[in-house]
Structures are given as C-alpha cells and as structure tokens.
Symmetry: C2
Subunit: 436 residues, 2 copies
C-alpha cells in the first residue's frame, strides 16, 4: 500500500535535499540551491542556517552574481564527520577512513589466508578499523559508523552473509552483529557492488546524473543501480545481480546453479582458466614463455596487462570477456534505460579500457532505443578501491542522502533497521550510530 506523508517528514527530507545539493556541487550559493531543488529561497535559508549550526556545512568565500552582489559559497565541511569503509572479499581485507566529502584519509589492505574463519576475519576487521583511525588521528566520536561491503547475496534483515561464493563454511554468518560487538560502532552492510555504486553517487561519477548502472568486476561480477535519483535495491536488496545475466545459454555451469552467467565467463578465475587452456596448446610468445616457467606467473593481472599491451593470446581472451560483458550491458540498458554505465571494481585492471570500448560500441549500435539517447560508458576513477570507499559512503548515504522512502514512512531508508550494538567496548566509547 502506498504511504502518505506529512510535514515533519518533509522537513528532514528537504534538509537532506539541500545537504545533497551542497555535497554534489563544488561550492554552491543559496540562490543556486533554490534554483536546483525547487525549494523557496526562505526554506533554503532556514535549512542552511541549521546545517551551518550543526557544523556540516561551511561558508567558503563568495562568488560574483548577475545582480552584482556577491553570493556566499557553501561547501560541506569534509572534517565534520568520518566513516570507516571495510571491503571484505575472499582473500583480501581493505579498510579506509573517509571524510564527509567521500575522500579517503587513511587506508590499510591485508591479505587473508584461503577460506579464513569468520571470527578471525572479524578480529582482523576490528584491528584494521582501529589502525586507520589511529593513522589519521581521528577520534571515535567523529566517526558516524562503519560501512561493510561483502560479496552478496546478503540477508538485509539480519545483516547476515548467505553462503557467499568462494567462502566455503561461511553460511548465514551474522557479520554485521559480530563487527558491531567487536568495534562498538554501528555497522551498515551491503554487497560490494551496491557499496561501490553508492560511493560513486556520493563522491564520484554518479554525483550529477539521476540514473546510472554500475557494473562491478571483483572476484565475482555484481552491480548497483541508481534509478530516478534513488539507489534501487529490489524487494530483498538483491537487485542488480548483473553477474548472473545469461550471456551464453550453453556456457559453463555457474556456482549459482545456472549456465553461462557473466560471472562464470568474466570473473578473474575464468579469465585465468581460459588463458591457461590456450597456453597449454603451446603457442609462442612472452606470455607462453612465462607460463612454461611457472603457470602461476600468468595470473589475472598479467593477462590483463598483456592484453592491454597487445599480446595476441591475452587480447583474444580479454576480447571474448569484453564481448560477453557487452551482451550483458546491452540487456542492462534495454531493461533500465539509464544514461550512464559505470565500470569499476578491482578486477578491471588494465583491461578496463578494452571493456569500456567494446561495451560502448555495443550500446551505441545494438540497444533498441539508441536513436533516442546517448549512454555514456565510463570507468570509475577509483575503480580498484571502489568497494572500500563505497562502504564508507554507505554510512553517509544512510545518514544524509534524501531518501524518498523516508518521506513515506517512519524511520530511515532501510525499514528493517535493528537494535544498536549490545556492548560498546572501551576503545570507542563515544561512537554514534549512523542513524541515531
């Protein structure tokens, strides 16, 4: 049933709209905010006064205006609040501290042993969180919370990882709760691809467009969606699973149970397997020589680099991956009709530009409404760190972004919000929850 709305909800929604307008700008005046948001000058003035009082926004010089009277420029104060972003991918733990502008101010990366135990990983995460705070000299009271990006699928109601691929033994692990207990901070969890998309929305390529799709290449292939200004998650928060579009119906079996999924054909493991299979046929060339010395020397990174450098065998393998991604991208645009497709994630590597070109060409020549629109295809400038920075953005997004759903019901944008952590430990006594 569609929900009605009321005056108090409008107030906090409009506040988020104004803060959002300031955040996505590179400095903006009150008059420009009114123009861009459709709010009256008076409403903008009242809201900005409160944002200044709260210290979220600062006045930063002035700009000339048409009328001659200079206008005061407003900016978000990057040091007004921080969030920790944790990206957990099998084999790797990446932790950043980001300021309110979404910029990383400290980071740490750790390699994990194969199939680590949940408790050990949580301990490593808590250590990494303490480390980035200490490195940056940011006190816990200035931290709004932790964003945790994990491989999907997740169960949003309980903050639980559901038997993620490549993590045998991780079945229904309540990572959110465990990390809250271990750190004392409130934790916002999402899958890595959605986190990357939200990061792009908060401080990247997605700041100024109403709709985009994000194709995320990590150890798996995922996606994120911004539709009509709102992050779209689907009914169970498992939308945008671009990695499980079928691009080869008779293709190899995917761990999801289906055949010929993008992920089964385009993930680093599949790329390495495809290259090694060809190398086994005994071709000449530098890659073949390296492979003969030690097959482990021809990993995903080496194959991407070789393809970008023009090695024929690597270029053929990466070219086929690009073709599969392009089939999926055409489907994504035909279904979603967005104006921007962002490519990101650590597995882009040097192959990113090959993927981008192939995908852009396919979208420009094969989508049904190509005569009506131009779809930009762009590589995220923070592609490799997108999930960790995005994880930090989860916290800002939950706390500050204008969520239409908040207009329509009590509480914030995730209605399944649960209790705060049980016992905040000593190292973070004044931590505030992202939505307290």
């Amino acid at each position: 049933m569609q929900q009605g709305t009321n005056l108090p909800r409008i107030g906090s929604y409009n506040r988020a709209v104004v803060l959002g307008a300031i955040q996505v700008s590179d400095g903006i005046s009150r008059v420009q905010i009114a123009e861009r948001t459709g709010l009256t000058a008076q409403a903008v003035s009242v809201i900005v006064r409160r944002l200044l009082d709260d210290g979220l926004v600062v006045e930063d010089g002035s700009a000339p205006s048409r009328g001659g009277k200079p206008r005061t420029i407003l900016r978000v104060d990057p040091s007004a609040g921080y969030a920790v972003g944790v990206h957990f991918d099998p084999g790797r733990l990446h932790c950043v501290l980001a300021d309110l502008a979404g910029r990383p101010v400290a980071a740490t990366v750790a390699t994990l042993r194969a199939v680590p135990e949940p408790e050990a990983v949580i301990r490593r995460m808590a250590t990494a969180v303490r480390r980035v705070l200490a490195d940056a000299g940011v006190p816990a009271r200035k931290v709004l919370g932790i964003g945790l990006a994990c491989p999907g699928p997740i169960d949003p109601r309980d903050g639980v990882l559901l038997s993620p691929p490549r993590l045998e033994g991780w079945e229904r692990v309540p990572v959110r709760h465990m990390l809250e207990r271990a750190t004392g901070f409130q934790v916002t969890i999402d899958n890595d691809a959605t986190a990357a998309a939200i990061g792009e929305r908060w401080s990247g390529l997605g700041r100024s467009v109403p709709s985009f799709a994000y194709l995320y290449l990590g150890s798996g292939v995922g996606g994120g969606l911004l539709l009509d200004g709102q992050i779209y998650r689907g009914r169970t928060l498992n939308a945008a699973e671009f990695g499980h579009l079928t691009v080869a119906p008779d293709g190899p079996r995917c761990h999801c149970g289906n055949r010929g999924c993008v992920e089964a054909l385009c993930c680093p493991e599949a790329i390495v397997a495809a290259a090694h299979a060809r190398l086994a046929a005994g071709p000449a060339g530098r890659l073949a020589a390296a492979w003969k010395r030690d097959p482990r020397r021809v990993g995903h990174a080496q194959i991407c680099a070789a393809a970008a450098a023009g090695d024929p065998l690597a270029a053929e393998v990466i070219g086929e991956v690009a073709d599969h991604l392009a089939v999926a991208a055409v489907g994504i645009i035909n279904i979603l009709d967005v104006e921007l497709l962002i490519l990101g994630g650590p597995a882009l590597r040097e192959a990113g530009e090959i993927y981008r070109r192939t995908i852009a060409r396919a979208i420009g020549s094969l989508t049904i409404a190509r005569g009506l629109r131009t779809v930009a295809v762009e590589i995220s400038p923070i592609a490799a760190d997108a999930a960790a920075i995005g994880a930090a953005s989860l916290v800002f997004h939950a706390a500050y972004a204008p969520h239409l759903t908040s207009l329509l019901r009590e509480g914030s944008y995730m209605s399944e919000r649960r209790q705060p952590p049980e016992a905040p430990p000593a190292q973070a006594p004044t931590a505030r929850g992202a939505r307290s």
Copy 2:
C-alpha cells in the same frame, strides 16, 4: 538534482494516496485507510469528504468493527469517470471504454489492411472512439481522455511513433497530436507493454504488490515495470524492453540490429516460422496434415492450441520458446528483484500456461537470491485485452495515481507535458483533459 517538496504538493499527493487505497480495495473504511497509508484519521477524513463531494467515491453500506460501532465502507464510483483505451498493433485496432474501476463497458475490434497509412488509421481510431461511447451511452463530458497504446519505441516529448517494427513507412508519426485533433480528447500515449502493466496496476494482478515486472507478448515482446510502487519508465521512457534481452548470442538477427533477442525467437512470426520449418521435413500428425492442405492453416493460434493439446511438434516449438522466455525471466528477476512476474498480451494464447510453468521453474531454481524470496509468476486474467484496457488505465493513472515525482516538482508525472489539442471538433464539445 534531487528536488525538494512543499505543503501544496503533499496535499494532492496524499489525496491520490487515499483514492488509490480505495481503488485497490474491495471496499475499505476510513480507519483502514489510515492504517494502510500511515495518514492520521483526521487527514483521511478531510480527504474522503472531498472525494465524496467530487463524486469520485461513494459510501456503500457498512461493516462491523472491533469496537462494535459499524464502519462506513467506501468505494470508488465506477461511473464517476470513463476513459477510452485504444490499442494499435500492426494489423489490429482494439478500442475499449473503461469505467473508473478499470472495467470495460464497451469494446470494438477492427482488422486493418497490411501497412495502413497513418491518416487512415487515425480516422479508424476516431470512429472506434465515437462507436464505444455511443454503444455505452456515455456522454463525452464524462470521458477523462483517451489512452493510446502503440508498439514502441516512442518519443514521449512529442507523442511520436519512431519507425515501429512491422510498420514500414511509419517514421516519426505524431500520433498523439493527430488523434487529439481527430477526437477533441486529450490523448495519453505509451507503448503497449507499459500500458498493459499500468492496467494491471490499476485494476488487475498488480493492485496489491509494490513491485512487479510485466512480460508482454504481442506481435512483438515488450515489458512494463512497477518498482517500489511507481511505474518505472527509464530516462527516455524506453525501459523494460524485455524483448531485446539476448537469449541466444549466435541466434537469428533481430529487427533491432542485435542477434538472438527474445523477440526474434519468441514472437508469433518466429513461432510460425519455426513450426513451418519442422513441418516441411514431412512428419506425420494432424498439424502436418493441416499444413499440407494449406500452410496458412497452421498459424500462431493453431500452433499454441496444438501445443497445449499435446501435439509433439507444436509442443517442441513452444517448449523452446518457453525456454528462451525463461532465460530472459531469470535475468529480469536477477536485475530487478521483484516479487511478481505477470505474463500477458494477446500472443500468450493457449501456450500461456506452458510459458508460466517453465518460467516459474527456472526462477525458482536458477535465480541468484532464490533462497531469500518467492517470486510469483502469474498470467494476467485479461491477457488478450491487456493493452487496450491498459491504455484506458493510462488516463486514470495519469490523473489519479499517487506519483512520487508530483511531490517533487510542478505538474504531473510526465514532465514533458505539452499543449492541449488545437481545435476540439463538434462531436466532443465538453471533453476534459486528463490533467486539466
């Protein structure tokens, strides 16, 4: 830039929310409306008073309540307003008059010559509109407008058909403007699949769910989307083109320029071609006998009926079509994470249940988040007339449904609204525009 909102916009939005709550119910009390919409009892009471005064809603008996005091039941008055729905598909013109409850009260179907001229088609449409009004005895002043459903893609800004498939010579035809001039009614245009989805939202299977995808089988294959309570159209109103998902990358060329699209493999023309190719190999059986007498006797309708009746050759052809549709459906659910997939459109015919079973099985066993949700797959009870009834619903939806975007900017849900018709002809002197 995300838009702010204000009090007057809330007023009309909440009015639409209350009207919507009454419309989707089978009779509802004021207390229930307050419960379901989150509005206060007082706000509901004021809004209902106005809806009663405007004649859109009637009090219709009472129901016992927990407290003992009977509650007055409210219903939309079906005769408070009407809309004409016109579905134009190459070869066929279907026109219905629907009451405010979305029920057809008069209808006419005309077969068109191959590749008719635009002017001739518009004249036929205007005749059909006059005919259904006369048949039902509904005066023009009670008609809110005409909804026109056409094969996509369309240009929404101008109400123009853009070189639709199977309509050679129809390039950039301003059908909306032409039909407005010919009838004097304001015309709302959309593609047939979106119209069918809106019809389902207004008075069908989609009344009580927040999200669904609609897979439309007509002369082509299209789709419609309801996401989080709102019809999703995409940036250029060309979203949900499910017919152009690739399900066989090496498959036949599609008119869109791509290969192996759902539409190229699953449209009636393709089904007939596949069956005829097999029949040419000379198998035994009733279908083969009919084909030998006259290939034209084995059309799409006959093949669907034969498959449903167990004819092996027809069942094999329809089974392959079902498999292709299932690949697309799994992709749709993996991208959109909706809880309901509706199948509809005139090309379902007797094959509908075969398609439904195959698609439901695939979604239940092959989507990535299948452990987290159940997705219902249902055949629209008005499958064959979905586009025409849906076209009428376009008018009601534009006038009465709660559009979140109306909270956020001036005007109604399509910001590209244009001028009313130039010169209302004599036969409809008091016609009102849907959004006047």
